[in-house]
């Protein structure tokens, strides 16, 4: 399955909701764009969780460009798409591999966002690229988190560094990088315990883990990924902002995008913080991870509309 069809399959439900709704608005030849129409568009956009400001900006755009006109579906879709692409525009951002030596990736996020599963997916991705991977079981807090990661490491043929429950996660991180250096492993992925962004002591711990990694290998971590649950609402902005502050996040893994949630909060995040989405999680299997591409993301949302009317 190619990237485009995969992301499309994952977003099918998402797209279906958005597209059906839009199509409903254009039952026949075209519709007059008036206040009532804009309110309907507003509702559709709000349901994507993209947030108040982003939604209002888009609705205003449509209103400005098309108000009072009777339009075809494609026109409105084009306006929405153009505006969304503009909002989500970002440089192509794959994982930045270290020029030499191991690439260190630190993964953080709130409880239950899907960190461990995302790490498994990342490891699987790196493995399929022929890279060797070591996992650092840095979640020494939650019951059985280390076991969960160990099971994944076994399944994916990655090595793993573990420590007894209660060990400081910075120690685990340091040892993982040490092992990566000693065994000449290409990628080291460091897991961290889930934490709410308001727990300042735990957020400070992230800073410490980061420092420990840098101590083991100057210049690392090369990537710090925030795993964000796609069902998250506007709190995602607070998560992104505080995790970025504490851990210096370089990007987002948008997990659980295979449900009906749209993950639109990344639009707000992108707009307010400039933090790009790097990957999207589209299922429970370790292969269900795709690099994020904003243009294709937006196109996939609307492609059904155009296919239906073409």
């Amino acid at each position: 399955m190619g990237f485009f069809s995969r992301i499309k399959a994952g977003l099918k439900k998402t797209g279906a909701v958005l597209n059906t709704d839009i199509r409903d608005l254009f039952k026949s030849e075209g519709r007059l764009i008036d206040e009532e129409f804009l309110e309907e568009v507003r509702g559709i956009l709000f349901r994507t969780d993209m947030g108040y400001d982003s939604t209002e900006a888009l609705v205003e755009e449509i209103g400005k460009k098309l108000r009072g006109r009777v339009v075809q579906l494609e026109e409105v879709v084009d306006v929405l798409k153009a505006k969304l692409k503009e909002l989500m525009h970002q440089p192509a951002s794959p994982i930045e591999y270290a020029a030499s030596g191991p690439t260190v990736v630190m993964v953080c996020g709130v409880n239950g966002a899907g960190k461990t599963t995302s790490i498994a997916k990342l490891a699987s991705q790196f493995r399929s690229e022929g890279k060797s991977v070591v996992l650092g079981a840095g979640d020494t807090f939650r019951a059985a988190a280390v076991q969960q990661l160990t099971i994944w490491a076994d399944r994916l043929g990655a090595s793993i560094v573990t420590a007894p429950s209660g060990t400081h996660p910075a120690t685990v991180g340091y040892q993982t990088v040490e092992k990566a250096l000693a065994d000449k492993i290409d990628v080291a992925i460091i897991d961290t315990a889930g934490r709410l962004q308001t727990q300042s002591d735990l957020m400070a711990e992230l800073t410490k883990i980061r420092a420990a990694l840098a101590k083991a290998l100057p210049g690392s971590p090369h990537e710090v990924l925030l795993v964000l649950d796609a069902t998250t609402g506007q709190n995602g902005v607070s998560q992104a902002s505080k995790f970025a502050d504490a851990a210096g996040c370089t990007g987002i893994v948008l997990a659980k995008l295979d449900g009906t949630a749209k993950g639109g909060v990344v639009v707000s995040i992108r707009q307010q913080l400039g933090l790009p989405v790097k990957y999207v999680g589209l299922g429970e299997s370790h292969e269900d991870l795709a690099p994020f591409n904003p243009d294709e993301f937006v196109d996939a949302l609307f492609s059904d509309v155009l296919a239906a009317t073409a």
Partner: protein, 492 residues
Amino acid sequence: MFDALQENLGAAFKTLRGQGKLTEGNMRDGLKLVEKALLEADVSYEVVRTFMKRVGEQALGEKVLGSLRPNEQVIGIVYQELVNLMGPVDHSLHLKGKGDVTVLMMCGLQGSGKTTTCGKLGKMLKANGRRPLLVAADLQRPAAIDQLHVLGEQLDIPVFSDRTTQDPVKVTANAVERAKKLEADVVILDTAGRLHIDSELMDQLKRIDQRCHPDQIYLVVDGMTGQDAVNSAKAFNEALELDGVIMTKLDGDARGGAAISVKEVTGVPLKFMGTGEHLENLEPFHPERMAGRILGQGDMMSLVEKAQQEFDQDEAKRLEEQLAKGEFTLDDFLKQMQQIKRLGPMKKVLGMIPGMGSMLGDLDELDAEGDLRRLQGIIHSMTLNERRKPKTIDQSRRRRIAAGAGVEPSAVNDLVKQFDTIAPIMTAMAGKGMGDRMKMMKQVQSEMAGNPAGMLSKKKQSTGKRLSTKDKAQALKERQKRLKQLKKQKKK
């Protein structure tokens, strides 16, 4: 947020003050702000629309438009409607007698916090003299069984699991059988997280339901969920006929608007909320608190409840009597602060105070405990007489106290000023009902708003906030009434 909302509403209405009446157009601007607040709190768009229609009708009524403080009235209406939306509550787990086995089933999306909630419920049940049995029916996620076993060990609660099968229906059925042998009276089923659109896994839930006939089925919802809460809650309710909802992860800064959405689409009561990672952090759900939280109003009720648990009851009673007599000294102030300190980390306590929620960001740098220690030092450096009558503190006394406490003389001044602000409020508060106290807290809050560090110097107030002669007379009357009651009690 509540402050911002209140402020914005105030600004929207203020422009019209002096010009006579408020217009409908102005009110609509104000309501738009309410709508924004709700949408930013992740309340479902549909719910917000119908909600705003209802609030709009009331707010545009003549009573509000003609009133002196329309912004407060509007907030009041919004708050009340929110409470109505999320109520009524039902905190009972509907347990059968101890000789019988009650089966509770947890379900929800991945990562919503089911397993942790199972542990918390188990702990709560055990504390209430029940014999719970945790059942590991999550055969999907690697190590989920281990996680439950670790929780069981921590809590000293038996855990049933079967690693030989991949069929959760079988596991749960066996578990219910086993419960009788283990003499457990509550079985808690921890099912795997699943997407509501995964028909295969949803069917599996239905099969567990048909096979085990759980007495109560609870949906566990992540308090940070956005607009999608409506879709998932609806699907789970259609598949299983839920009996209640448990919201989790509400100890963060999520405003939890999903609570409203879920209640609206399922109609089932919100039972509990998870407020921390530790196993005792499970609290009954209160619509009033949630309404305040969604509006960013803080969790005054939780604080009051916690205070009642932690405060020294005798001391509190003595203080109450003092207050009723209209006496509130620096000594009392100190004792109160010490009691507040007992509530836990200052930051958590402050976060529960209305108006403080939005300022918690600033509080990160705030050394609340240090401030408290300094204030204590100052008060300890005073003579008993000075503590009773701070007005006697003149320049030379101030210098002496400051030297004794190792602070600048201005700090002593600040404290006395602070005390001046609080004392009359504390006295007025004594003998009032909860509602009045809340109102008074709001006043304190508005006074504190410009002064987040809590160093509330007495500010010049607008005349609107002052007690009228009538109010003063009323307060005096109530104080005397209270005093009489206290005397009566003493005689008995």
